[in-house]
C-alpha cells in the first residue's frame, strides 16, 4: 500500500492507495502517529484509491480519531469506494467517524 502525505491549504491530507491489511497496518499506524504528533488542526484521509480494508486498518482509523480528539483536532475520511464504505458501516465506525462522499465536502466539512 502507498501512503502519501501532503499539506493542502493548511490541512494534512493522507492518501491511501492499495490494500490496508494486518500486514501493513502497523506501518500506516506509525505514519499516522507521526502526522498526529505535529498536532494538526485537521487531517483528511483520502480513501479514494483504497481497495481493501480489514479490522487492522479500522483500528488505525479509530486510534487516530481518539488521538486527535485529545488535541482538539479533527480527522475526516473522504471518498471511500462503495465496498470500503460497506466495511466501515458494518463495523459501526460510520457513526463515530466523519466520512464524506467527496473531497470538497471533506475540505469544508
Amino acid at each position: 500500500m502507498e501512503v502519501k502525505i501532503e499539506k493542502k491549504d493548511g490541512i494534512d491530507v493522507i492518501s491511501l492507495n492499495g490494500r490496508l491489511d494486518a500486514s501493513n497496518a502497523p506501518v500506516f499506524d506509525e505514519k499516522m502517529m507521526d502526522v498526529l504528533s505535529q498536532k494538526p488542526g485537521k487531517v483528511i484521509v483520502s480513501l479514494k484509491e483504497l481497495e481493501y480494508v480489514s479490522s487492522a486498518g479500522l483500528r488505525v482509523f479509530l486510534a487516530a480519531a481518539k488521538e486527535i480528539k485529545k488535541i482538539d483536532g479533527r480527522i475526516v475520511f473522504a471518498e471511500p469506494a462503495e465496498h470500503v464504505f460497506k466495511v466501515l458501516k458494518m463495523s459501526g465506525l460510520d457513526t463515530i467517524l466523519k466520512i464524506y462522499k467527496s473531497m470538497d465536502e471533506a475540505v469544508s466539512g
Binding site: D21, L62, V87, M90, S91, G92
Partner: protein
C-alpha cells in the same frame, strides 16, 4: 423397478485449495491470494471476493496472534472445497490452545468514541457475511468452518 440412488444429505465437496504455513503475519498474503483465486475462478464478483478475503484475514490474524500464545509457534491451515451449487466451504485450522472464536461477545457498535473498541469485529464480520459459521475442536485442532454463498 430400477434402484434409484438416493441423493446424499451432504453435498459432494471437492477440495480446490489447501494451504498450510507457519501462523505468522508474513504469510497472510499467501492465504488471501489462494482464497481470492478460488473465489474468482468460481465466478464470484470482485466485491464478494473482497469479503472472502476479509473474513479469512480476520480468522488468520486471530490464529497468528493468539492460537500459539505461550507455546512454540505452529501452523495455520486453510482448506477450501466447492459444492455442486458452486458455494465454497472454508475450514481454518490450527493446533493451538482450544478457543471457540464463534463464542466471542458481539462488539458494541453503539459505544461513543472513547469507549469504542475494534476487538471482536472479525468474527462479527464472518457471521454477517458468511453462512453456517461453526467451531469445533477435533483431534487437538481448532476448526472454524463457514460457507461462502455467492452473495452475502
Amino acid at each position: 423397478m430400477p434402484k434409484i440412488f438416493e441423493k446424499p444429505n451432504m453435498p459432494e465437496l471437492i477440495v480446490i485449495s489447501e494451504v498450510k504455513l507457519p501462523a505468522a503475519l508474513d504469510h497472510l498474503r499467501e492465504f488471501l491470494d489462494a482464497a481470492a483465486s478460488c473465489a474468482h475462478a468460481h465466478g464470484f464478483t470482485a466485491e464478494r471476493v473482497g469479503e472472502v478475503e476479509l473474513v479469512i484475514e480476520e480468522a488468520f490474524v486471530n490464529i497468528a496472534s493468539y492460537a500459539y500464545e505461550g507455546q512454540p509457534p505452529g501452523t495455520a491451515e486453510m482448506v477450501i472445497k466447492v459444492d455442486e451449487a458452486g458455494d465454497l466451504h472454508v475450514e481454518l485450522i490450527d493446533e493451538g490452545v482450544p478457543f471457540d472464536s464463534t463464542a466471542v461477545a458481539e462488539p458494541d457498535l453503539e459505544a461513543d468514541i472513547d469507549n469504542r473498541k475494534i476487538g471482536g469485529l472479525g468474527i462479527f464480520f464472518m457471521k454477517q457475511l458468511m453462512d453456517d459459521v461453526s467451531y469445533s475442536r477435533e483431534d487437538g485442532k481448532n476448526i472454524l468452518r463457514f460457507t461462502v454463498a455467492r452473495t452475502a
